[in-house]
């Protein structure tokens, strides 16, 4: 008889949901929260939603196995997804498999990073993905379960078991789930997926291996220039990986801040340019030991400053959230890329 790990389909007898959750915990399949049971019937409904996508999946690092649609769907079922969410989940996994994303590095690192999943296009409304108030938080099944499904796939298919292949020192709540929609309706500029070359009508998932959102609170500034001073100050963080492990980062601008910046004539490009110039850390805020490490790995200061980004293009900009004077900075792992995949 095959070991349970080698069986595609497992007969678990008359097990109820509580007993299944015990089995899942024993097998290491769980993120710690209760799971739905991935029965053959449920998995078949999920797989049916992606029948039109025949592109093969590459081996998933670090475990280096090629997933089946059924094993991917089993994780989406366990996460609590509805079948119609599965094309988004499948596209998110495919996006992490772009070699530039560096999935092995992002899963095995001691850094706290977790995959940020952002959804763009009309599918946001079709699936009820929250793009507005509390978009990074709780309360929406699609946000909660799409992000959770990707996390479970990385645990079960990729093999990123905490303390084993996932070596994160402290982890991050986003490892449970981190999925939101762009607030395209209140974005006064170009939606992110269109910035990346997709059509406005395309449904696109964007992933980045990042930290959780760092708040950029500014209730006092009444000009775009003032807001950028606050944003740059919040981004100039000597503890962010991107100070030496250079890579991308997101600034997710709240709609009220976006309206102020737009009113004052700022564009996506000029915001990036300004933040690139202003988001730098003075050497007085960096220890000698850290500076030695940065310099020995090729990250030299410019005068008395270290920049947080390599170039303006490292700073990715979009709009999400609801009313209020807050925006968010999401630094990445560093050695990774922001990757986009069309859904379906």
């Amino acid at each position: 008889m095959k070991d349970i790990a080698e069986q595609e389909v497992i007969d678990i007898g008359d097990m109820d949901v509580e007993a299944f959750n015990e089995l899942a915990a024993e097998q290491g399949w769980s993120d710690g929260m209760p799971l739905y049971v991935p029965t053959e019937e449920k998995v078949a409904k999920f797989v049916e939603t992606v029948r039109g996508d025949n592109r093969p999946y590459p081996p998933v690092p670090p475990r280096q196995i090629v997933p089946t649609l059924q094993s991917m769907a089993a994780n989406a079922v366990m996460a609590g997804c509805k079948p119609e969410y599965f094309p988004v989940v499948a596209a998110a996994l495919r996006s992490t498999l772009d070699p530039e994303f560096n999935l092995h590095g992002t899963l095995a690192t001691t850094h706290s990073c977790a995959p940020m999943v952002m959804v763009s296009g009309p599918i946001r409304q079709e699936l009820g993905i929250n793009c507005g108030s509390n978009c990074f938080g709780q309360g929406w099944r699609s946000n909660a379960t799409i992000g959770r499904a990707l996390g479970l796939m990385l645990l079960n298919i990729a093999g990123a078991k905490p303390g084993e292949m996932d070596r994160s020192t402290q982890g991050n709540p986003a490892k449970y789930t981190f999925c939101f929609g762009e607030n395209q309706e209140e974005n006064p500029w170009t939606p992110y997926h269109v910035q990346r070359g997709f059509a406005a009508t395309d449904n696109v998932v964007t992933v980045m291996s990042g930290e959780g959102p760092h708040n950029l609170n500014d209730h006092g500034s009444t000009t775009g220039d003032g807001l950028l001073t606050t944003f740059a100050g919040g981004m100039a963080n000597p503890g962010a990986n991107t100070i030496y492990g250079k890579g991308p980062m997101f600034v997710i601008i709240g709609p009220e801040h976006a309206a102020t910046l737009k009113r004052d004539g700022f564009t996506i490009e000029s915001i990036r340019d300004e933040l690139y110039v202003r988001s730098r850390v003075h050497l007085s805020r960096i220890s000698k030991g850290n500076l030695d490490t940065y310099e020995s790995t090729g990250h030299k200061p410019e005068g008395d400053w270290l920049r947080i980004a390599r170039n303006p293009q490292d700073i990715h900009i979009t709009v999400a959230g609801g009313p209020g004077k807050h925006s968010a900075f999401i630094p990445s792992f560093g050695g990774t890329a922001v990757t986009c995949t069309r859904i379906g």
């Binding site: 349970i4 790990a5 069986q7 595609e8 389909v9 497992i10 007969d11 678990i12 007898g13 008359d14 097990m15 299944f20 097998q27 399949w29 049971v37 991935p38 029965t39 053959e40 998995v43 590459p58 081996p59 998933v60 475990r63 280096q64 196995i65 090629v66 997933p67 089946t68 059924q70 094993s71 769907a73 089993a74 994780n75 366990m78 560096n102 092995h104 590095g105 690192t109 001691t110 479970l152 796939m153 079960n156 298919i157 492990g245 490490t293 790995t297 090729g298 792992f333 560093g334 050695g335 990774t336």
Partner: protein, 93 residues
């Protein structure tokens, strides 16, 4: 009740065939490779010194990835494979 295994996958096809030959640790060339994090180099220096107590070490040489977070560059892997019979990796942190 039957469920799908959430960990199931197929072995990747077409991987490179590797033929391993025994290493002669007393004489063969060895690459000492750092992941470029703090203390990896120091660990490798200690290993080279210890090996020097029992063998010649002029063919034991240091290498490093240019980023701890990225895979080793292909040209580094090829160069190590071509020149050495064994590689010892140090993961500093």
């Amino acid at each position: 009740m039957r469920i799908f295994n959430p960990t199931f996958g197929m072995a990747a096809a077409g991987g490179p065939a590797v033929s391993l030959k025994p290493v002669n640790w007393a004489t063969d060339a060895i690459a000492l490779i750092s992941n470029s994090k703090p203390n990896a180099r120091e660990l490798l220096e200690g290993m080279r010194e210890r090996l020097g107590a029992t063998r010649k070490i002029d063919n034991i040489e240091f290498h490093a990835k240019n980023s701890a977070s990225q895979p080793a560059p292909k040209d580094l892997i090829e160069a190590v494979a071509k020149k050495y019979r064994a590689a010892l990796l140090a993961l500093g942190d």
